[in-house]
Amino acid sequence: MNPRLFLILLTILVTCAHAQETISEQPINEGQISEEQILLNGYVDLSGNVLLTGYATPESLYYMPFLYGTNYSFDNNSDQLYVVTDSLTSKIADTWTLNFSLDGYYSDYSVTFYLPPGSQITKFDIQPQLNYQVQVKEDSLILSVHGYRTISPWIKVDYKLPPADIQGQQNNQITSSASILLILLLVAGATFAFYRFKLHKETAIPHDESIDQKTENMPGTETKPMPAKIPEIEIRITGEMQKVIDTLSDKEKAIILLLIRKGGTSTQADIRYEIEIPKSSLTGIINALNRKNIIKKREYGRTNIIELSEWFLSENKVQ
């Protein structure tokens, strides 16, 4: 069998088995009305999730339609139900509705819902046989409902959250995290931009009029549109220059050719990146070229500006 198919089937089987968790037995004989009891607490959070927990007779689970398709646990020893579900609440505009409807017959029915703090109940719709009161405590609006010998009890409560909580709630699980992430991503982006700017500033060459004059006066040069910081002028390699270049090592040649390509000037950092020479090696090579009077080096910030020497550019006339 195809392993993927096998895994899919296995997953389906496990899922089905899990869903069957405690609903694998038929509750009662058809036509027989059982007498159930529930004593439950329901905690409603800002996003409409409800933790429902407490005592319930095992058969009463079959009369709780919201349990179908929901993961829950039921302790058969203590008859304790634990379920987290969002199927008891719904929202239209800014009004939430809590709908807790059961089937079955209950000799004892006691349910206490704890709505989020600041909730305002706008509408009660509760089975007439049930008695209920509300109570405000510091962290909840408590709705206590109880009754005896009631059939198919139902509770429907519309409530609104305070504006701040509505915003908070909407932001809570989706937007809040996303917003904070977005803000912090912006911070990350700003940090990145700052670092980039700093690096750029360190490696940029200021517009140097002397360079412009030098390159303008160079014979045989063709001027191109010059960038603000790094002038890139094509330098024609004369025969004398070529003779000098031929005496250099491969790495030295690469540096000189790069400088020629870049119009005679570059930063040491750029040379390192473009030729990919280790920093320590490059320093030695630059110093060697400097000693040979082929280049000039001058400090600029945390890097050096490397220029082809006038001697080298003037076709070796000075020497």
């Binding site: 959070d45 933790l51 646990s73 703090p117 490696t203």
Partner: protein, 188 residues
């Protein structure tokens, strides 16, 4: 010129990790973690009984529910929900912590609802004060209950069922009480 260096990437990754951590740790709704650490929830029936209260030739239907609740702070529960805890994780959180019990009860006598303030109970007895409740649907927040009676029950097994008898005193009138309990209560 290379603007995206290894250091830049490392710093960006670091900041992103910080951002994610901050978002997951800080982004809780206000007040959600206030009550963390001292919250449990558990509801158990102490007593459920249904029957009659007799006084000479008068009788009334009497229903009683008494329960023991390991009170969970709703704020704590909501913080668990906020943290996307499953029902099993929440159950474990509740069961693993310290347990603070409280009791509450209801009583319906002659069609009128009352609160039952349980003063003592065990497997064979229950006693409590009967207190007034506000009207159906009323706000109980500022309501000051008034004691209107008390009840004392003796619980025992009788002819295969759970039977309770005792005295209910309501507004100075004493009633003999006879109640049966749901079979499910036998387990308790």
């Amino acid at each position: 010129m290379r603007l995206i260096t290894r250091n830049t990437i490392l710093i960006s990754v670091f900041v992103l990790i910080c951002a994610y951590t901050a978002a997951t740790v800080i982004a809780q709704p206000p007040g959600m973690d206030k009550d963390k650490g001292h919250a449990r929830s558990f509801v158990q029936p102490i007593f459920m009984g249904h029957g009659f209260a007799f006084a000479q030739d008068k009788y009334h239907i009497l229903d009683i529910t008494a329960q023991k609740t390991k009170e969970a702070s709703p704020g704590f529960i909501r913080s668990l929900l906020w943290n996307k805890k499953s029902h099993e994780e929440i159950r474990n959180e509740m069961n693993n912590g310290e347990i603070s019990n409280s009791t509450r009860g209801h009583l319906r006598f002659a069609g009128q609802e009352y609160a039952l303030n349980i003063t003592s109970y065990d497997n064979t007895s229950l006693a409590g004060d009967v207190l007034t409740l506000p009207q159906r649907g009323a706000d109980r927040t500022s309501f000051i209950p008034t004691k209107v009676g008390n009840i004392s029950l003796s619980i025992s097994s009788y002819e295969g069922d759970i039977l309770s008898n005792g005295i209910l005193t309501m507004n100075t009138t004493d009633y003999k009480v006879l109640l049966t309990s749901p079979m499910a209560l036998k387990r308790w």
